[in-house]
């Protein structure tokens, strides 16, 4: 594993980014790794952008230095564009292609680019891009609310991900409601599988 592995998660309030991040962190602790994490609470959660940052390894601050994230998981396509300052061309980037259109668009005070446009743009600047429709995969698993577990599954499937999948699943079980356990597990597995399939077409990491 790299000395410090840095994960940046970005999404919209209500998508469950914090839950997904906490599961990664707790599982890393179980694996005997040091881990620090930063999360956002309060005003920003009311439909605003929500960011969590994780550093696994010998770090004191969870805040990721500019351009140095190893893994970016964008829970929403346009939000990925807001994370460009944290990543570099080598960063492994996972994007949910299901958009959440903010009210500022219909009011005409802000613009939302076409999702295809966003992906085309990201393909130009990032070497390792994985796009999946997490909402659709979650729907197939049983509930769109499990979108976050689909993306977590895809993250776990990424090439240098330092935490064991089994520990992630064990930690999920401890953190998620029992009633929705099967749906969540299916969502994670399907996300994982989808990522593994898609990755075949990716350029080799360097």
């Amino acid at each position: 594993m790299k000395k410090i592995y840095k994960i940046y998660l970005i999404g919209v309030g209500g998508q469950g980014t914090i839950k997904a991040s906490t599961i990664i962190g707790e599982a890393a602790m179980k694996q005997g790794l040091n881990v620090v994490m930063s999360e956002v609470h309060g005003m920003a959660q009311r439909g605003g952008t929500v960011v969590t940052e994780l550093k696994i390894g010998d770090a004191h601050s969870p805040l990721i230095e500019e351009g140095s994230a190893d893994l970016l998981i964008a829970f929403e396509p346009a939000e990925a564009l807001k994370a460009l300052n944290k990543i570099n061309r080598q960063t492994f980037v996972i994007i949910n292609s299901s958009p959440i259109i903010p009210f500022t668009i219909s009011l005409g005070i802000s613009e939302y680019p076409e999702v295809e446009e966003i992906i085309k743009e990201l393909k130009k600047i990032i070497k390792n891009l994985l796009v999946l429709n997490a909402r659709e995969i979650a729907r197939e698993a049983g509930n769109i609310i499990s979108e976050n577990m689909v993306l977590l599954g895809a993250g776990v499937a990424s090439p240098e991900f330092p935490v064991d999948k089994e520990l992630i699943i064990q930690t999920m079980k401890e953190n998620l409601p029992l009633a929705s356990w099967e749906v969540n597990l299916r969502a994670l597995e399907n996300g994982f599988k989808k990522a593994k399939e898609l990755k075949i077409n990716l350029p080799i990491l360097n």
């Binding site: 919209v12 906490t22 920003a44 959440i100 219909s106 680019p113 446009e117």
Partner: protein
Amino acid sequence: MKIKEILSVEEGKKLFLLGNEAAVRGALEAGVSVASTYPGTPSSEIGDVFFNLAQEAGIYFEFSANEKVAFEVSTAAAAAGLRSFVFMKHVGLNVAADALMSTVYTGVRGGMIILSADDPSMHSSQNEQDNRIMARLARIPLLEPSNPQEVKDLIKYGLNISEQFEIPLLIRTTTRISHMRGIVNLGKIIAVKKKGFFKKDPSKYVVVPQFVVQMRKRLQEKITQIQKITEETNLNKIIDTGGKELGIISSGAAFNYVIDVVQEMGLKTRILKLAFSYPFPEQTVLDFINTVDKVLIVEEVEPVMEQGVLAILGRYSINKRVYGKLDETLPLMYEFNPDIVSSGIEKMINGKLRERKQLKTNLPLPLRPPVLCPGCPHRPAYYALKRAIRKLRLKEEDIIYSSDIGCYALALQPPYNMADYCICMGSSLGIGSGFAKTTSQRVIAFIGDSTFFHAGMPGLVNAIHHKEKLLLVVMDNRTTGMTGGQPHPGIPIDGQGNPAQEISIEEVARGMGAGLVKTIDPFSLKEAEEVFIEALQFEEVAVIITKHPCAMIINAVGNKKGEKKPGYKINQEKCNCCLLCVNSFTCPAFFVAKDNSVNINSLLCNGCGVCVQVCPKKAIEVIK
């Protein structure tokens, strides 16, 4: 992790805790008997955890009416010999400041910790005041943790010092510590003392002039004694990476950036980390300065330690270059991060910054300001009021919307534009009264239920007493919403989940003598509009309470019961795309698809169904 594990997991184990969760574990391990708060980000989760486990732990915990009351409840507990813990956001300490200034004079018998969660960069706050200055103003010893483990440990340590010197201690966290998660090694939870006993001694507890003169002297003696501790404690430590050219003094979250940057850049330096930072350990700092050629101070937000260092250099006539905020090596405002700190160090060493490459895009980035949730009861209240205003043909520039601290201030966004002024908790009424007296504009004040009890009542008394022409809308969503949903005096449960006396806002307003007082359900748009039309024509103080539970509460209760929310869809044959739902009601669940049809995002819709009343074509239907 489940919240209860903060109580149930035993000594020797580890948990991945939020700084705020670690604070509760610290209180449990230190035998705190009484905890109190008024919720405020970034401190809110401390109270949420106590709410979940105080009863089981045998601790008395309350959500007090405001921070001053919370402070006083904990002060009394400490005066009665119990250990107490009061916590709040940084601006909450302003509300409690009157009590703070005198409690430091009287002192305590049981240990007392005050935690102030500062919010540099104002992620969820109205200012970024640095309460390390408040520590100096009050002369209260100050601890600054850098991570969740230290939050827990410093609460235990602080309570011992507090008891030893009979003085409360202040712990200053910042957002990046309160909302940082890290691995915390757990210690033993000790038994809680249930009841204290207050030994009378007016010369110690009554702050009349004949006694305070002595108290003031005793306080100074305590501070002098505690300074010896801050000089000797290993909480203030040096990390040596093998150089003596550069010395860095830092504390709190800023220290984390320093140590990470030093390691990343491979810098040879000496770092003095101050965790017990007031009384300022002057000798320790002087000795440290003497071992290095130049000094950099890295601290958030004000140059507090930097001024302390400059004072020491001046007193001892030491000629050494000090870098920090005052010479703009580091920014004078906002929180730091690793990049800001590394830029500062580079600027200092090389006189310039290295070039940084950043990925960029020319695509537009959609704005995503925080909004009222789908299903929020504030939205229909504002919508009905807006319609009443239009019906009465009042002009927007002739109305002043005096808002307050809470979710409802989000009505400042278009298309509502219904928050013109908002400065602090309870200000809607005082500011509203001032405008009513000094302008001919129509004043409409908004206040939440929790904020009403917190600081709104004196303002309302004042407005009624002075016969102001003012419409007060109490947006009663049955919770303290913005901070995540905590109970308050208007709710029949207390901070431990036990039954409590519910205070009726309507009766309070009537008792104060308001001429027109009515409670409405904002989910009935037509009725709400009619009541607002009546209230807007009333010549003195009118109080309209819009009462409907917060969507988050309805969701939480529904989820617990396993209830399924009703779903809504647009009947495209009936919809004429007037866009009233999208552009005027602006529920975030609505969106216009590429084919220009209006749709409802089922992931976001909370099933409140108010939009059905908004649609003139009756095109919004329940999914059966």
